[in-house]
């Protein structure tokens, strides 16, 4: 294998390094047969253009799935739960395909009909990584469609949540409708009010004028009843919970504007304030739209259901039947093949298991198991097919039990009151007070009519549109800035929560360390060159990940052939090379089970040559770059580290993170959740940074949960934000910037209060005219919006964020 040495040989299909590969077709080299097959399929179907759009656009087929994977799709119940629509002939289905990544992918997936006439059309939604297919059921079955996709390297992802009605779209069209209609009404009402602004009314006869104002009344009806309905319902919802939120004073403003204007139009044939009303609603809705930045592909609501497959294969007698996961019960025998996920806690009955628990525990090296061993749900089998007996249902298994915890079921109480809701309360109180006082004054020294005018004018002009606009625009812009820096927040409210955090909890494996890479080190006697030679000879025959790691350490050593070689699953290797007997493996395998030597975790490999113990290799996690910087940035916070591992790397962590950080080892997922809970009971506001399912509880419970992800395709549990792993060092900057954003909101509050003072002074003197209001209100809105967006962008530039 090591004989061919050429540099930079890349697979024609997927672009992976394929130095030493002998999979060749003409001049094209492929990393594996899977990639070559895909190429051949495309060539046969005249779709070679795929390769000219983007260089090496394919997806590596090295981990190709075995056949018959989609057998369960033949089950009518299953296909019914997936298909969106069918009329008996044409069916429409939407598949999530995580491997979609470039324009070649779009092109190929939209040319699917060339493979098979049964495919009628296919349409890719790139940001969502979805393809919507229409196919002819009499020609193709759902299973064949899925198989066609995976044959060309785009395997659809079908999991438990896609069959359990998890297809809800969060994006709402109604906001588009509302904004569009409000904009339409705003523009037309402005146009109709124009003669009034220029005082041209005197030249127009009264009948024409009343036609104009009645049209404005009609146009304002949809604005009041439809476009602003969201503000009313939110205000009422707040009142039910005995909270006065920011939408309450806004609703009062809208209500008074509409009420007084209608009264003036109908009874006084006057202009009214419909232009201000529609403008206000339009700007508010624009703010909402700006704030609603969604990251299509990223999901912040996932639980274990999107991680587990939809079906499991049960073996009864000699028959293999797929059953839905919900129908899996204790005592069932299930078959798990290579790269498949163990769906429920079970006992290994047949075969040798090598289980990758990286999502459950964060440990990246597979764990060997022999017959009779307990295997936890969430592990992934690497190797041959195994047979298991289920001992706990999926929902009751070790890892999924977390989601049955009461902390997941009870609705989240919002522990952080947003600034706008706090400010809204005082705002409402003081505005009502001013309105009442001035009304009383005018009652005494003027007429009832004047008092009523003043009262409503104050409410109209003091409508906190500045406050209501500054938060969505500032936070929305911050959200975008973070997004450009690969820090994806679920919503704008998360920025504000982030700014209040005082305790940061970090996970170790997968968060501070890299998920898939390890370093190997040798402890013990110094290894002579002749020892290294024989160790290399033996490990060269093994595909075990630890053997590959050891091999990578001995790159410079000469390779000789092993005379004998035997691998004991769950134990280790034994081989003879150069006349020496080498044993490599776990403590009990090399030293005997009663050796009394401390195991030291599963990642230690002991070595003996001719029965002489040489020492052991240990796989150590590689820390991400910039951990020291991160620790420095977080010096103003309390920091804790929770690790699921043994405390073997305690000293290294102390050195990296400093002495202030509290370290906890051997923490189970539930321990992590309880730790966060304990901190919250001590009035801390907690930021949890984690990755896999084992942190899911803590991520969910904390005020802000950040899931660290290597490549955004990865699974991430329910959280507030997703951070790309290489940006972890910048976490401190993000926290600091969230505080800056809040300061900008405070500044904006002052600006809008100043505007309100100006407006209120008009109002209490009873000199608020429609034109003053029509100038003042949009002007304050625009100032606030400009300050909010420009200053956040400027600050981001100063801080070195993109």
């Amino acid at each position: 294998m090591d004989t061919i040495l050429s540099t930079e040989l890349k697979c024609y299909h997927c672009g992976d390094d394929c130095t030493g590969s002998n999979v060749v077709l003409g001049e094209k080299v492929f990393c594996c047969n899977g990639c070559k097959t895909v190429y051949e399929i495309l060539e046969k179907n005249n779709l070679i253009r795929y390769y000219s759009l983007t260089e090496a656009p394919g997806v590596s087929q090295r981990k190709a799935q075995m056949k018959n994977k989609f057998g369960y799709l033949d089950d009518p119940q299953m296909s019914r739960s997936l298909v969106d629509f069918t009329d008996g002939r044409v069916s429409s289905v939407r598949f999530s395909i995580p491997s979609v990544h470039c324009s070649s992918c779009i092109w190929l997936l939209e040319n699917l009909y060339k493979f098979n006439p049964g495919i009628l059309s296919s349409r890719v939604n790139f940001p969502e990584k979805e393809v919507e297919l229409k196919y002819n059921e009499s020609i193709l079955s759902l299973r064949e469609v899925a198989e066609l996709l995976s044959r060309i390297g785009y395997e659809p992802e079908i999991n438990l949540s896609s069959t359990e009605g998890g297809k809800k779209k969060t994006y709402s069209k109604s906001l588009y409708y509302k904004t569009g209609i409000a904009g339409f009404c705003f523009a037309n009402i402005m146009l109709l009010s124009f003669p009034e602004y220029l005082s041209l009314v005197n030249n127009v006869d009264a009948l024409l004028k009343s036609v104009f104002i009645y049209i404005t009344l009609v146009l304002s009806l949809p604005v009041f009843f439809y476009c602003s309905s969201g503000y009313f319902s939110s205000a009422i919802q707040g009142l039910r919970k005995k909270v006065i939120n920011i939408d309450f004073p806004v609703s009062i403003g809208i209500l008074t504007l509409f009420g007084r204007s209608t009264y003036e139009i109908v009874f006084l044939s006057a202009q009214g304030y419909m232009d201000s009303l529609s403008g206000l609603v339009f700007f508010l809705l624009l703010g909402r739209m700006f704030q609603e930045k969604t990251y299509g592909l990223l999901s912040f609501e996932r639980d274990y259901k999107s991680y587990f497959p939809a079906y499991a294969v049960i073996k009864t007698g000699g028959l293999e039947t797929p059953v839905p996961l919900s129908g899996l019960k204790e005592g069932d025998r299930i078959i798990i093949r290579n790269e498949e996920l163990v769906p429920a806690d079970s006992v290994l009955i047949k075969g040798s298991a090598s289980i990758d628990y990286s999502f459950v525990s964060g440990e990246s090296l597979p764990i060997e198991a022999v017959e009779g061993d307990l295997i936890y749900a969430g592990g992934r089998q690497k190797g041959t097919a195994i047979e298991l007996e289920v001992i706990k249902r999926t929902s009751q298994s070790y890892i999924t039990r977390l989601w049955n915890n009461s902390d997941f079921i009870k609705p989240e109480e919002n522990r952080i009151l947003t600034f706008s809701s706090v400010a809204g309360k005082y705002f409402t109180a003081s505005v009502l007070l001013i309105a009442l006082l001035s009304a009383i004054y005018w009652l005494k020294f003027g007429s009832t009519q004047q008092a009523l005018n003043v009262f409503t004018s104050v409410l109209i002009v003091a409508c906190p549109c500045g406050l209501a606009l500054s938060a969505p625009f500032t936070l929305g812009n911050t959200l975008r800035i973070f997004g450009r820096n690969k820090f994806y927040l679920k919503n704008a409210a998360a920025v504000e929560k982030l700014s209040r955090i005082n305790h940061v909890v970090l996970d170790k494996t997968g968060t501070l360390t890299r998920l898939s890479e390890k370093n190997i080190r040798f402890f013990g006697m110094e290894l002579q060159e002749c020892d290294r030679k024989v160790i290399k000879a033996v490990t060269h025959n093994s595909m075990h990940p630890l053997s590959r790691l050891i091999l990578s350490m001995m790159r410079d050593t000469e390779l000789i052939d092993a005379e004998e070689f035997k691998e004991y699953p769950g134990g280790g290797l034994e081989g003879v090379a150069d006349g020496k007997t080498v044993r490599l493996g776990s403590v009990s395998f090399v030293l005997g089970s009663d050796s009394g030597v401390h195991q030291g975790g599963s990642s230690s490999v002991y070595v003996s040559i001719n029965d002489e113990i040489k020492g052991y290799f240990r796989a150590e996690s590689i820390y991400r770059e910039g951990i020291r910087e991160l620790a420095h940035c977080l010096r103003n916070y309390n920091v804790s580290l929770l690790s699921g591992d043994y405390d073997g790397e305690k000293d290294r962590l102390r050195d990296l993170l400093g002495s202030r950080v509290k370290l906890f080892f051997r923490q189970s997922p539930l321990d992590k959740l309880n730790y966060v809970k304990k901190l919250q009971e001590q009035k801390n506001l907690v930021l949890m940074v984690g990755d896999g399912l084992n942190d899911a509880g803590a991520l969910f419970k904390s005020e802000v949960g950040i899931a660290v992800s290597e490549g955004s395709v990865n699974f991430s549990p329910a959280c507030e934000a997703i951070l790309e792993a290489q940006e972890l060092r910048g976490l401190g900057d993000f926290l600091k910037f969230s505080k800056t954003s809040m300061k900008i909101i405070y500044v904006n509050l002052i600006v809008s209060v100043l505007y309100n003072f100006a407006g209120i002074s008009f109002a209490v003197e009873n000199s608020l005219t429609p034109i003053v209001s029509a100038i003042l209100m949009p002007l304050s809105s625009i100032t606030v919006v400009a300050i909010a967006t420009l200053s956040t962008s400027l600050m981001a530039k100063i801080r070195g964020l993109n």
């Binding site: 253009r49 000219s52 759009l53 324009s103 779009i106 092109w107 939209e110 890719v124 939604n125 790139f126 940001p127 969502e128 994006y171 069209k173 588009y176 409708y177 569009g180 209609i181 339409f184 523009a187 037309n188 146009l191 109709l192 127009v204 006869d205 024409l208 036609v211 104009f212 049209i215």
Partner: protein, 62 residues
């Protein structure tokens, strides 16, 4: 002066047509995916090898 009212009526009518077009666009899902169509337009349907070659030459001669 009543010509103003007629003009107003027509301008509203035109605006309503545009509003209806907007609502139709949202309804028919044009706002579901604001990214892919921008990529799709760059992918030609069928390009023969000759055309491909000549295009590359054009790029080179620039």
């Amino acid at each position: 002066m009543w010509v103003l009212a007629i003009l107003m009526f027509f301008s509203l009518l035109v605006a309503i047509v545009f509003l209806a077009a907007f609502i139709w666009a949202v309804r028919s899902g044009q706002y579901d995916d604001k990214y892919t169509p921008a990529l799709r337009i760059l992918l030609d349907d069928e390009v023969s090898d000759e055309e491909e070659g000549s295009r590359k030459e054009v790029v080179r001669s620039r």
